[in-house]
């Protein structure tokens, strides 16, 4: 029965990656874009791999520009650059958090913070234009988070859940500062599947929601809409909001085809959400409506990390040693 009129438009076929970066020679565990490199107009991509190396990729030549080896062969779990100066933070499972100076072609560790947790919890920083910035790292006790003031490395406080609250280890951290108040907040996902909002200066939990059944593996937060999203080892994403009284509320959960989210990231323009799945796929959602937009099935092993560049480029690093770079829904 051919109906007269237009047939419904077929959805476009799934996209292909714009390009693929090979050569890290180990599972890619951390990715980070560094804003535009003024000299060449191309952003840099940092990738950390299982073998402890950090590669710095030029997105123009699509080749590694440099390789940093500072973690003694232990997996690099987190990378972040500081807004001031060419400085890179890398967290490794060798219980060190290194601060690299990359200015003027240098590739040297200028400072390092000893860590006390061997877990996979990624650290988080809160840095503005001031010289002082704040760092949150997993602490000594299995359920603690340590807050440091950098670069002096002075310990500000240790956030420890009250007695009897069996949250388990912190699995992911996110430091946040509301526009209105100078007090830093910390969003932390825990092993028992709950997300807690800490008031760092008062060292107490403002609010906590149990939004997953499984350990929370990654979370991101959109301060404009006061909403965040978290992914877990389970089969669903949870979207939650923070209201004026700093209380967390679950807005909705979004079911996934396969269980397991390793990492998730919001695009800087807050339009897209990307998740790195244990099912080898990257899923892209419309952040406001949580409408699924694409399932990127390129990798042949677990995707460990995703990152967005400020110009909208998406990178995904996988256990199959490849980094795929995608250009989806370009910014208008």
């Amino acid at each position: 029965m051919a109906a007269p009129g237009h047939p419904p438009p077929l959805p476009p076929p799934p996209p292909d990656p714009q390009f693929v970066l090979r050569g890290s020679q180990a599972a890619v565990c951390a990715l980070h874009f560094h804003g535009a490199d003024e000299a060449q107009g191309h952003p840099l991509l940092f990738s950390g791999c299982q073998s402890g190396l950090v590669h710095i990729w030029s997105l123009r030549t699509r080749r590694p520009e440099a390789t940093l080896d500072g973690h003694g062969g232990q997996c690099v779990t987190w990378l972040h650059t500081l807004p001031r100066g060419h400085q890179l933070l890398s967290q490794g499972r060798d219980l060190r958090l290194c601060l690299w100076s990359l200015a003027e072609g240098r590739n040297a560790v200028v400072d390092s913070v000893p860590l006390e947790s061997v877990g996979f919890c990624r650290s988080s920083i809160l840095a503005g234009e001031q010289p002082r910035w704040t760092l949150a790292v997993p602490g000594q006790g299995s359920d603690e988070v340590r807050i440091l003031e950098m670069p002096s490395k002075t310990s500000v406080c240790t956030l420890k859940p009250e007695q009897g609250a069996k949250l388990g280890m912190p699995m992911c951290l996110r430091l946040q500062q509301a526009d209105s108040s100078p007090r830093p907040l910390l969003l932390a996902g825990y092993e028992d599947g709950s997300v807690a909002l800490w008031d760092v200066s008062e060292r107490k939990v403002c609010s906590r929601i149990a939004c997953h059944e499984e350990p929370v593996m990654g979370l991101d937060f959109d301060p404009q809409r006061a909403r965040g999203v978290s992914g877990s080892a389970g089969k669903a994403l949870a979207v939650w909001s923070v209201d004026g009284q700093q209380a967390l509320q679950v807005c909705r959960t979004h079911p996934l085809t396969n269980p397991g989210i390793a990492d998730l990231a919001l695009r800087p323009d807050r339009r897209l959400l990307a998740t790195a799945g244990w099912d080898h796929r990257v899923r892209v959602f419309h952040w406001r409506t949580m409408k699924p937009l694409a399932v990127l099935a390129f990798h042949s092993a677990t995707v460990n990390c995703v990152a967005f560049a400020s110009d909208g480029l998406l990178a995904a690093g996988s256990k199959d040693q490849r980094i795929s770079v995608w250009s989806l829904y370009p910014r208008t």
Binding site: A2, P4, P7, P12, P14, S241, T257, R281, A294, V295
Partner: protein, 833 residues
């Protein structure tokens, strides 16, 4: 008193004489007035002696004549005389007046103005409530032994009034005389008459309700229970509330209903009451004292009828449970019900509706009976239950099995409340929920718990509503949280077009095999559960993609699949295995079908496997005979295309694009809907139908040690017959259909008196498929005897079979036969000289 009687008699004679002979209206008037004064006329009650005198023959004759005169229209416009005449009917003795009027109606030959006049008078008689007066008279009279014949006549007339008037008046009958209006009126009048009886009893006078009982009984026997009891029961319900005298009168009323009318009355009563306590109030302990009533209520309504609603049943059994004296009857009823429920002959021969009825009755009994009463007869009940459950679970009809499970669960939990509960697996549906609700012991008051469902509905809705509300508030709060300037950006977001996400399947663990031999090896030998599962999932696609390779190992593959056991909990294992087998049969029909049919009659298979074989054969035959199936020739011609077909979406894409482009560039003059030609092709089942069919039909009567189709394994026999019917139907337009049809009809003939309804259903549908598949000319040419035999058998089944589905199927087959005859003997062809 005695002095008055000659006066009255004289006055009656005189009036009669004047009426008959005199031309002088004045004299008639004066004599009638004199009589009326004597009788007492309007208002003042006649004395007993006078009333008795008026009951005699001369007065009846006077009334008859008067009725004749009135209907003829009094000669001359003498209004006074007419009014006087009417007053004799409307105020005089009601029984006499009624009889006179009815006789006048009966004597009329047909509709006429005279008749109409009488009828009008009768209508006025009814509307003025004289029927109540009539019944009061009779009730009073029965204190003395009354004239039996007169009462009998009166009874027939009162109850038969609608019929008699309809006979006379044909279509002109008045509304008041239609049964649906008359009997409610009669009910009202009956209540009024009873009211008088109660009043006079209060006053210390003797009264009898025998006539009222007879009226009630006769109306009910005539099938007008609904009309009369619809009025009577609510009124009596209200009146008996709190009044012992009324209750006594009511009990008496029902007790005196003649035996032959008792069943109709009690049935109507049980249907009309709102609950057991009302029934108990109206009947008292009638069921204990009255043998006939006991028979009706504990035997007839429970075992011999099954049309009554659940509510009637609840009223009835609740009534039995409400009094200590009646409770032994309830226990007895439960025992007998269970005996019927558990009897294998009843299960086989009773219609399903009755089995449902009996089951419901059992559950209601259980709800009413208490622990000690059940304990007293526990062993007996348990024995009946065990027998019944066994027979029921053996049945091949799912509803019968279901009834067995539900009743057994409830009964065992009541008989052994302390023991571990008996639990069956069955799907909850409306019937099972209703039955379980019946078994729940209700509140002692018996008020039906009507507001149950709405309450739960509300409870279910509330959380979702709250969630909705919460979501709304959240949604409304979110934009407030963010800056307002982002609205335009939000709007543009809606244009993000999602990519195709159809490939987003659940991730499969383990590597699926790529070749059919790998798959076979993985299925037969692999210890790796993940690999085994992946092979099972990949099998159907592999077989469809490479039929050539499948043919090399087809029988081996079928063997492996047939013996495949579920090793781990694989979702949809049965379906996967079945689809795999079907694909193998389709790929290599002749050899695999031969193998499967031979295994069907082989030793050492479970019934499950044998039934799987039947299912697979049917599905494969369906697939083979489906028109428009991608033909094998095309697959052989272009293996590359065939290989790329599943999974790739590119081919349809470009075709759609090209067609779209052609359509946009082509101008058509006629704007009809483009019609796609129906896919057609030769029936691939043609060449292999025999391999499916004949091996199956050949050996059914040779029992093995483990497999006896004509004995215990009648379930498989039923499935086999259904399969044969389906194969026959799918073999339409094949050359082998005629011999298949012949074999199948012979097979049906051999089994036509099988006791299992499921088997008979299969036989009937097999006959239908023979009629559908074999060409009409060949049917009549080659199989005329078989057809005739089948026809007589079908006619018998359609009429007498106890299973409703069997009757329905037989009727359908008969209709097919009729159509066949019409096709062969077109009505247009002239027959005869």
């Amino acid at each position: 008193m005695d002095a008055a009687r000659p006066d009255v008699r004289l006055a009656v004679r005189e009036a009669l004489h004047a009426l008959r002979s005199s031309e002088d209206d004045g004299r008639v008037l004066s004599t009638l007035e004199a009589l009326q004064r004597l009788v007492g006329g309007a208002g003042s009650p006649a004395r007993a002696g006078e009333r008795q005198e008026l009951a005699t023959a001369p007065f009846a004759a006077l009334l008859r004549d008067l009725a004749g005169k009135l209907s003829a229209g009094w000669p001359g416009p003498n209004a006074r005389l007419e009014q006087l005449g009417r007053s004799f009917f409307l105020q005089g003795p009601a029984g006499q007046a009624f009889l006179a009027l009815m006789e006048c109606v009966e004597s009329a030959a047909g509709p006429s103005s005279r008749l109409m006049k009488t009828v009008q008078l009768l209508a006025t008689f009814l509307s003025q409530g004289r029927l109540a007066a009539l019944m009061e008279e009779q009730c009073r009279q029965q204190a003395q032994p009354g004239p039996g014949l007169f009462q009998e006549t009166l009874l027939v007339r009162v109850v038969g009034l609608p019929d008699q008037l309809a006979n006379r008046l044909q279509r002109d009958t008045l509304d008041a005389f239609l049964p649906q209006n008359y009997f409610p009126l009669l009910g009202e009048q009956l209540v009024r008459a009873l009211q008088t009886v109660v009043d006079s009893l209060r006053a210390g006078l003797d009264c009898a309700v025998g006539f009222a009982s007879q009226v009630l009984g006769k109306v009910c026997v005539q099938g007008r229970q609904k009309e009369i009891l619809g009025v009577l029961v609510p009124r009596l319900t209200a009146l008996t509330q709190g009044s012992c005298l009324w209750q006594r009168v009511c009990w008496r009323l029902l007790e005196q209903v003649p035996n032959r009318a008792l069943e109709a009355t009690l049935t109507g009563l049980a249907e009309a009451v709102t609950g057991p306590e009302v029934l108990s109030r109206l009947l008292g302990n009638l069921v204990v004292r009255h043998r006939k009533a006991q028979f009706v209520m504990t035997q007839k309504l429970l075992f011999l009828q099954y049309r009554h609603s659940t509510r009637t049943l609840q009223s009835l059994l609740g009534y039995l449970a409400m009094d200590v004296q009646r409770r032994p009857l309830l226990v007895q009823a439960l025992k007998e019900l269970l005996e019927t429920w558990g009897s294998s002959s009843a299960i086989r021969h009773a219609p399903l509706a009755q089995q449902r009825y009996v089951s419901k009755a059992i559950l209601i009994c259980l709800a009413h009976l208490g622990e000690p009463e059940l304990r007293g007869s526990r062993d007996e009940l348990l024995a009946s239950m065990m027998a019944g459950v066994k027979c029921r679970l053996d049945s091949s009809l799912p509803p019968v099995r279901r009834l067995g499970m539900i009743v057994a669960e409830v009964l065992s939990s009541r008989l052994h409340p302390e023991g571990p509960p008996l639990r069956f697996q069955y799907d909850q549906d409306d019937l099972s929920r209703e039955m379980l609700a019946l078994a729940a012991p209700g509140p002692a008051g018996g008020s039906s718990p009507e507001p149950g469902p709405p309450l739960t509905a509300v409870a279910e809705e509330t959380p979702t509503e709250m969630e909705d509300r919460a979501a709304e508030t959240l949604d409304s709060s979110i934009p407030q949280g963010g800056p307002q300037g982002s609205d335009s950006e939000l709007d543009s977001d809606d244009e993000l077009v999602p990519y195709d996400m159809s490939g987003d399947q659940e991730l499969q663990r383990g590597k699926a095999p790529q070749y059919i031999r790998d798959c076979l090896e993985a299925l037969s030998t692999s210890e790796d559960v993940e690999r085994w599962e992946a092979a099972l999932r990949a099998l159907e696609g592999l077989v469809c993609r490479s039929p050539e390779a499948t043919r090399e190992v087809s029988v081996e593959l079928a063997k492996v699949l047939l013996h495949l056991q579920e090793r781990t909990c694989v979702a949809g294992f049965e379906g996967l295995r079945q689809r795999g087998l079907v694909a193998v049969v389709v790929a290599d029909p002749a050899r695999v079908a031969e193998y499967l049919t031979s295994q069907f009659y082989a030793l050492n298979y479970s019934l499950r496997q044998r039934m799987d074989i039947l299912d697979v054969l049917t599905l494969a035959a369906q697939e083979l005979s489906r028109p428009g199936r991608p033909g094998r020739t095309s697959q052989q011609g272009s293996p590359a295309l065939a290989a790329s077909q599943p999974g790739s979406t590119t081919a349809p894409d470009w075709r759609v694009l090209v067609e779209e482009r052609i359509r946009s560039k082509t101008r058509r003059f006629s704007k009809g809907c483009p019609r796609r030609a129906l896919a057609s092709g030769p029936n691939e089942f043609n060449s292999v139908a025999g391999h499916f069919f004949f091996p199956l039909i050949q050996h059914f009567d040779r029992p093995l040690v483990t497999f006896d189709l004509l004995g215990d394994d009648q379930l498989v026999l039923g499935r086999l017959i259904h399969t044969l019917g389906a194969l026959m139907y799918l073999a339409v337009n094949t050359t082998v259909a005629v011999s298949m049809g012949k074999a199948l009809l012979e097979f049906v003939w051999a089994l036509r008196f099988h006791v299992d309804p499921f088997v008979r259903q299969g036989l009937l549908s097999a006959v239908s498929s023979v009629l559908l598949s074999v060409p009409a000319e060949r049917l009549l040419g080659d199989l005329p005897d078989e057809l005739l035999e089948a026809r007589s058998w079908l006619a018998e089944v359609a009429e007498k079979d106890m299973d409703e589905d069997c009757r329905l199927l037989a009727v359908k087959s008969l209709l097919l036969l009729e159509r066949l005859r019409d096709k062969l003997l077109p009505p247009s062809s002239p027959v005869g000289p």
